[in-house]
Each structure stands twice: as C-alpha cells, then as structure tokens.
C-alpha cells in the first residue's frame, strides 16, 4: 500500500502548497506512483480522514485552529511543518507586537468586534512536529527530498549551518561589504542563499541556527558600523515569535 499523504492549510498565503505543484511532468508522475495524495483542498475536491503523512502549512492564528491541528496530530503518523509560517510562526507574527484589539481596529475599525484572532504561533507551539521544511517559500527540491527520505524511513538531511556557508559557495560579495544589514550569519542554510544571489540580503525566513553565534554577529555589525537594532528590525519580519518568546 502506498503511504497516504495529506496537505492542510492554516493561516497563510498558501504559496508553499502552490510551489509543491511546481514539479516537472515526470516528477509529478513519479510522486503519484510513490504516494497517494488524499487531501489537498487547494487542488482537489475529494477528501479522506485517514492518512499517514500530514504536511501542515500556515501559522495558528485562531482558537478554532488549535483543535483542528490536534486532530491532525492524532491521525497522522508523521507531521511535517511546511514553510516559515508553520515552522517558525513567520510573517503572521508581526501583528503580535500590537495588542490584538489594536491590530483589529487598525484594519476593521468599528467592526473589529466580529473577528476572532489570537497571537500567531508556529505549529510546534501547539503540537509536537516531526520534521520541518523551512523557508518562505520552501524550495520544491527540499520538499521532494523530505518526502523521499520519509518514504525510505530515513531522517531528511537538512543543513544546520548558517546561510553564510552557502553564500560563500555561491560566490556572492558579502552583503555587509555592500553596506547593508544581513541575517545570514545566524540563519539556517538550505536556500542556497537565494536572496543574496538575487541582489538583496538574507531576511531570515528559515529561522535561527540551533546555536547562533550572536557575539560574532555583533562583532560583524560593529566592524561595519551597524547597530543591533537595525538587525533586530529585519529579524522580526519572519522571527517575531522567536524574539518575543525569548
């Protein structure tokens, strides 16, 4: 029997699911030979309540999403957090800086009372998560790598070193040398330093490395005349949840 795979979306842009469809013809055929995709509301009408591997996309931002996620945890053998919102809380957590009532009033004015929202959080703030496919968005290659590893019963081999390593390998000029702030020294690699390669800086969407060398980042900032505040402001974009809970 082929393992049953399900995709579930919580609060987010659904870009991770869409990128999962960004496969070459043969890749999709191979994937469908290896697994049964039983739940994928974004592209599929039929639904099943029985599945082995659950991919969970989006952050948790409503009370009603908590029991839904717990039910998925009870049902699935393996739960994989897909994308920055599910892995680290992501961009949705930017609203956590404001009291919820204020955030609602900014958007909805007088009608704010109709809305249900709680401070945004990643999936593992609610349930235990087995694996993480990081990034905003994750790469299709990494998603396939994780699926393959799960099918073989192996632990997916995902880099735990910082983005700087991949950035050097990509032959980029260091962002600090160009007079800008970068999160590369403390953020997990695996993206191939795509943002720096595309002319910008690392925004931190894959989350902090396990043991970030904060002192070294501070030394770098000092060397280039930048402040901790500037970096923290950039860091908050995807990592408000980590910042606030620390």
């Amino acid at each position: 029997m082929k393992p049953k795979v399900a995709f579930f979306d919580f609060t987010g842009c659904e870009g991770c699911q869409l990128d999962a469809l960004n496969l070459e013809g043969e890749e999709l055929l191979d994937l469908l030979n290896a697994v049964d995709i039983v739940n994928f509301r974004e592209v599929k009408t039929e639904r099943e309540d029985s599945y082995d591997i659950a991919f969970v996309e989006g952050s948790i931002t409503r009370e009603s999403e908590i029991p839904r996620l717990q039910k998925i945890r009870n049902q699935a053998k393996v739960v994989v957090a897909l994308g920055a919102c599910a892995c680290i809380g992501g961009i949705n957590c930017l609203k956590n800086h404001l009291p919820m009532e204020d955030a609602l009033r900014i958007v909805y004015g007088e009608d704010a009372k109709y809305y249900d929202t709680i401070p945004a959080r990643p999936a593992d703030a609610v349930i235990p998560v087995d694996y993480y496919v990081r990034g905003c968005p994750p790469t299709t290659a990494e998603l396939l790598k994780v699926i393959k590893a799960l099918l073989l019963g192996k632990k997916p081999d995902i880099p735990s070193y910082p983005v700087c390593v991949e950035c050097k390998m990509a032959g980029n000029v260091c962002v600090f040398e160009r007079g800008m702030t970068c999160l590369g020294p403390v953020i997990r690699a695996g993206c191939g330093a795509i943002c720096v390669t595309s002319g910008r800086h690392c925004w931190g969407c894959r989350g902090l490395v396990e043991d970030p060398n904060v002192d070294s980042e501070k030394d770098i900032l000092q060397k280039y005349g930048l402040t901790v505040e500037q970096v923290v402001e950039k860091f908050k974009i995807f990592n408000t949840y980590a910042e606030v809970t620390k």
Binding site: C13, N22, E42, V43, A103, C136
Partner: protein, 428 residues
C-alpha cells in the same frame, strides 16, 4: 414537496476558504449565501512602523499566487509616495515579470483548478491517467512562467530582485534569449488549450453587471492606467475609495464592495470587456476561436478570458524580450530618497484590480496602509450571480445544483487568503 439543501463547506480548488449555503423548499429559496471564512491576516497592522524597503517584501506574503501583483502594487505605492519615476528599463522588466505571474496564475486556474470540472473529475490527479498530455502541457506552461519570473526576480513565489526604484539584480541577456524559444513553444501549447476549451460546454448564464478594470491608452493595462468602469467611465487612482466603497457584512462574509449597482465584477472578463481592443493579434484570434466577444456577461466565460490573456502576455513577453535584446540592459542607480507623503499603487492582479495605499513619515517609515483586494470586490458579485442562477437550475438534482454553484465560484478563481481583511462566520 421538494427540498434542496446544498452546503459546501470550504469549496475545493480555490485559493483560501469559503462556503456555499443553499436551502430551498418547494421552489422557493430560503437561504442562499456565499460565505468567506478565511482567518483575518491583519496585514495593514503588520505594515505599520516598517521601513519602506521591507514593505513590498511583507506585501508579497499576502498571497502565494499573486505575490508579484502585491509586490508591484506595493512598490508603486511607495514610489508614488516618494515621488520616484522608474526608468524605462525598469518598467519593461516589471511588465515582463508581471506577465510571468499572469501566465502562471491563469494556467493554474484554467488547467489545474477549472479543467477537472469540465472533464468530470475531482482534481488534476486522475487526469494524469486519462489526459496525460494535458497535464504534462499544464506543468510545462507553469514551469515556463515560473522560470521567466525566476530569471527576472530570482523566484516566482515571493520575488526578490524587484525593489523600490528598480531591480537589485538584472537578468542575463543570454538566458533571456534562451527562454524566448520556450515562449514561442508556449504559443503552440496555448493553441492546444484553446482547442481543448472549444470542445467543452460552458453553462449558458448571462447576468449583466458593472465591470471595473485599469485602463491605459498605451496598452492592455496590467500595471498602469486609471480606473475604468463600464457604468461610470474613467476615474483617477486617487478616487479608488469612492469606487470601491468597502463595507462589512457582519452576518456573513468578507468586506464587500459596490460602486454604481449592487455589485461589480473585476478580473479577466472585466478587463476583456473594457480593454479587448488593445489585445495583441494572436490573443484576439484566440478570443474569436473561443466564442468570446465583448461585452460578455457570462461569468463562466472568465476562464475563456484567462486563456485569451495568457496568449496576450506570452506574445507581449516575446515583444519585450526583443526590445531588451535590442537595447541591452544597463546597471542603474537605485538610490531612494525618502520623504513624507502618501502614494497609491494599482495593478491588475490575475483576479482583478488591486490597490495599495500607503502613508510614510519623513524617515521612510510607514504610518498607514490600506489594501483593497480583487477577490473582496468580487464576493458581492458572486452572491448576486448565485441569486440570478439558482432559480434557473432549482429543478435540477441537488448534486447538479451543487456542482454548478461550485463551478460558478471557481470560475471567479477566488483568491481568498488575499482578502487581507475578512470575517469570521458563525454557522446556524
């Protein structure tokens, strides 16, 4: 006594979460609602206090499908606030990047989300067995659009290189030349798509409404122009609040909009109705072959209009690449001078007209933001279409009614996550 109860919880094959509720008894409709149940995202609150260069990056995350539209509207609003006029080169690259998104999003809808309805299956997956060539073609077109965006902006989903003032990195001319050939082939694939859709039967349902889209005298407008309405004529972008008139509907769904009538339509069919004369020749030909002529009042033809626009953007991309190859690309100074002020950006997202309106302080920090999203502008029109359609089909079996209503919602290709502001729904 005949009872009809249709309750579709979370319509599938649409982006985001919405429900259809229909209860009828003895031919009388007791309840009929299109409900939006997406979580509030509160983007306008997230933007507040952010430095200008972070704002388009955050705006992109409003939606995974139309991220280039949100990024572009965001960049334009910021440029308008700072008084920046982008260079001709930047505008060419932006349009090319934009075309990639229109193509990707339309192909996703036409061949992955809508086609299964017409072919009588529940998703694209069974089509792998029965219509393998169509699925492979769909993936090929989608990949091409993705690669084109990747070439210009580093990535399709959440583009990187497009920034306020220009591009942080320029594409390689050799790669542009290489992708040109694939775009030529895409025109052939789109001919096949036209052929496929010609053979399918489209529900015959016409309901005239107000149509609103950007209009630019120079070209079929996607990222430039003013607000055009079939009822009210042309209005400057600064009038967008008077055109959209957002209002909350506490009993049911997201923020609604209306202008001259009870509701209006935005998106591919609205653009086609307003700008069809500016389509490139091959797109005009596709429209003719699909039996699409302006004005068209059948919402099920939105998919046909998307096919026509797909042809248009591929042909336009070929033209842009030829222009770029002829003139070359030069490194430009993208230095941004911030200043206090307000700016409005408007683009035609795949699903319709999109507004971002920002106010910045003199440090370039955003103090106020408002975004009006295409799908929110269509919610009210979807409701009115349902009210027009249901009496015509009420004698049919419940399953067919359900299917037709789902098809109607899907025809609009709603992108509900985008509804940056939307409401909680309580069920009876």
């Amino acid at each position: 006594m005949k009872q009809v109860n249709v309750n579709v919880h979370q319509v599938s094959r649409v982006e985001g979460h919405g429900n259809i509720v229909l209860n009828a008894k003895d031919g009388k409709i007791e309840e009929l609602r299109w409900e939006v149940t997406e979580s509030p995202r509160l983007f306008e609150a997230m933007f507040r206090g952010r430095y200008y260069e972070d704002v388009p990056h955050i705006a992109s995350r409003i939606c995974g499908i139309c991220c280039i539209a949100h990024t572009t509207a965001s960049i334009q609003a910021t440029e308008a606030a700072f008084g920046i006029q982008p260079s001709e080169q930047t505008l060419l690259l932006r349009r090319l990047l934009y075309n990639a998104e229109i193509l990707e999003s339309h192909i996703l809808h036409i061949l992955f989300l809508a086609a299964p309805d017409f072919l009588g299956v529940g998703s694209v997956f069974p089509l792998v067995e029965t219509h393998k060539d169509v699925v492979v073609m769909a993936l090929r077109l989608k990949k091409l659009a993705y690669n084109l965006a990747e070439l210009i902006a580093g990535r399709k989903t959440h583009p990187i290189s497009c920034i306020v003032g220009g591009f942080a990195k320029l594409p390689d001319l050799g790669e542009l030349k290489a992708i040109r050939g694939r775009l030529e082939n895409a025109l052939v694939d789109l001919d096949t798509t036209v052929e496929l859709f010609r053979t399918l039967s489209i529900p015959d349902f016409n309901r005239e409404t107000e149509y609103i889209a950007l209009k630019d005298p120079k070209e079929y407008a996607f990222i430039s122009g003013e607000i055009a309405s079939t009822d009210a004529g042309i209005a400057p972008l600064s009038n967008y609040l008077e055109v959209t008139n957002e209002f909350c509907v506490p009993h049911s769904t997201a923020k609604y909009t209306k202008n001259k009538r009870d509701s209006y339509m935005v998106g591919a069919l609205a653009r086609f109705n307003i700008n069809h004369e500016q389509l490139l020749p091959r797109a005009k030909r596709a429209a003719k072959e699909l039996g699409l002529s302006a004005p068209c009042h059948n919402p099920f033809m939105i998919t046909a209009a998307q096919i026509v626009e797909s042809v248009h953007v591929v042909q336009d991309s070929l033209n842009i690449i030829d222009q770029i190859l002829a003139r070359g690309l030069a490194e430009e100074d993208n230095t941004v001078k911030v200043r206090a002020g307000r700016g409005i950006g408007a683009v035609e997202a795949p699903r319709g007209i999109l507004f971002h309106d920002y106010t910045y302080d003199d440090n370039g920090v955003l103090t106020k933001a408002n975004c009006i999203i295409p799908t929110n502008q269509n919610h009210n029109n979807i409701q009115k279409d349902m009210e027009g359609l249901v009496p015509l089909i009420l004698s049919q079996p419940e399953d067919e009614i359900r299917h037709t209503l789902e098809m109607l919602v899907r025809a609009y290709d709603p992108c509900i996550s985008c509804s940056a502001h939307s409401l909680k729904v309580t069920f009876k």
